[in-house]
């Protein structure tokens, strides 16, 4: 029995948040050459579960996320989101999404950016304003509502992007290396905030990263992928405790290091003992 099946059963739910079955993605590049970005991927994510996708560059983790978001379509296989096709889920706005670049609209204020999806989907002005105020409070940017993105730091912009992804209270969050461009300190603070936000909203999350500690700190399960062709090599259950217990102390706890070692072993296929430390970090950040 695969560990993903266990997680789904543990969650005790009939409809999974995400169900990827035998998904393969082949890109045709120049001169008709083909690249297998993803090779028969199976993955289930339970409602409210936090799953990280980790692996070196080119392992297809972002592609897998794009398939779930229906930004790309699988060559073969199927992607189901809350029991419907990925396309239908996108049309129904069942997920919120955040990318490595914040992707804010520079001509809109912070509040205007957060309201964007609500505005596009026809939410009234008063309701929009109220929701934006709520989200600004959640990401701690209430004082910056009327600022423009260029006046904000990278970390603040990313917080706005996360608030925007939460605007329509989605039950699924798709995040493609949202903290990838941030400095280490900002990054850890953002991780703490994300854990809190997820606990408050109860959303399932699929989180793409290439940082092992980040994956371990945030996730219920870490999906380890390998490149050429993109495959899932291992799924490691982490779940280091309830959200309210996950603070900076956890980053120094024994369980945390054990999980980091386990993910590292899965990534490199070697025991992460003292000697193996040197071989760590091949295309993957271990900080």
């Amino acid at each position: 029995m695969r560990s993903s099946d266990v997680a789904v059963m543990a969650a005790g739910s009939t409809a999974t948040a995400v169900d990827v079955v035998g998904a393969t993605k082949i890109f045709t590049v120049a001169k008709g050459a083909q690249v297998i970005a993803l090779d028969t991927i199976d993955l289930s994510v339970a409602p409210g579960e936090f799953v990280s996708l980790i692996g070196p560059s080119g392992c297809g983790k972002s592609t897998l996320l794009r398939l779930i978001a229906d930004l790309d379509q699988p060559t073969t296989g199927s992607v189901t989101v809350f029991g419907k096709s990925a396309r239908q889920a996108r049309v129904d706005q069942d997920y919120g999404i955040a990318f490595q670049q914040a992707g804010l609209l520079p001509w809109r204020t912070v509040a205007g950016n957060i309201e964007l999806p609500l505005e596009l989907h026809g939410t009234g002005k008063t309701a929009r304003k109220a929701r934006a105020a709520e989200l600004l409070e959640l990401v701690g940017l209430t004082d910056f509502a009327d600022r423009y993105p260029e006046q904000l730091s990278g970390g603040m912009q990313q917080r706005v992007a996360i608030a925007r992804s939460l605007a329509e209270s989605p039950k699924l969050l798709l995040m493609d290396e949202p903290f990838g461009a941030l400095d280490e300190m900002t990054r850890e603070r953002m991780q703490n905030e994300l854990v809190r936000i997820c606990a408050e909203t109860g959303a399932a999350v699929v989180f793409v990263t290439h940082s092992i500690p980040e994956a371990v700190f945030l996730s219920d399960r870490v999906v380890v992928m390998s490149p050429r062709p993109g495959r899932i090599v291992d799924v490691i259950p982490v779940a280091l405790g309830a959200a309210e217990d996950r603070d900076d102390d956890l980053r120094e706890a024994v369980g945390f290091f054990a999980a980091v070692s386990a993910v590292r072993e899965a990534l490199h296929g070697t025991p992460a003992g003292g000697a193996a430390g040197a071989s760590a970090a091949r295309g993957v950040e271990t900080r």
């Binding site: 996108r90 049309v91 999404i97 992707g103 609209l105 520079p106 001509w107 596009l120 423009y148 260029e150």
Partner: protein, 257 residues
Amino acid sequence: MRTSTSRTRAILAPVIFGLAVLVIWQVAVVVLGIKPYVLPSPINIGGQFTKAFDTVWAGTRVTGFNALIGLILGAVTGIIAAIISALARVFDEIGLPVITAASVVPIVALAPVLYTMFGAGAETARQLIAALAVFIPVYVNSLRGLRQVKPVHRDLMRAYAVSSWQVTRTVTLPGAVPFIFTGLRIASSLAVISALIAEYFGGPIDGLAKSITSAASYSNYTLAYAFVLGAILLGLVFYMVTLALEKLATRHRPSLS
């Protein structure tokens, strides 16, 4: 403080240079005894400009109004055509060769034909010539801007599952604003130049260019230069107003360069 010094310098340098040119011009005319019909001195031109200000102003108003109508007409149609081209590939494929052909046509060459078409007593021909001249840079720059959508914004809009018109309205068009204004800035001078040159080919006898011709034909060269000064000022006003609008519209963005 450094920026304010460099800004002062950026303003001061051309002003000093301009004044120096005027001084040299004045001295040269006086010292070399250049006849006014060859080249009047700046002081004489300035004097004539103040003396005949009402006439110059009347001419400037006519030419300026033609240029403004042309600028608005050409800009609106240029932007709309660019939006249609950006949305529908077919129009883009039809549009490109037409625009390339149109950009080669010396538009003022159409003036005599247009005067016949709309009657020599109307300003319509002049306004249309200005509009045609404006259309091309506005269209080309707007279309370029409309194609500059960032991949992250495209993904975001696809994730939002909105119509292509909504994408245009919320992302593509606002994103193209700096490019549209670059086109408008080029077009603003073109509008004045075209409206002015069109007057040389016929039509009513009230614009700046007509006044320059008639002043010259009466051997009143200083007055002719006073009208030229009016034309220069008109061109500057058009340019500066569009520049100010551009700065206003793009004040929250990182610079394009």
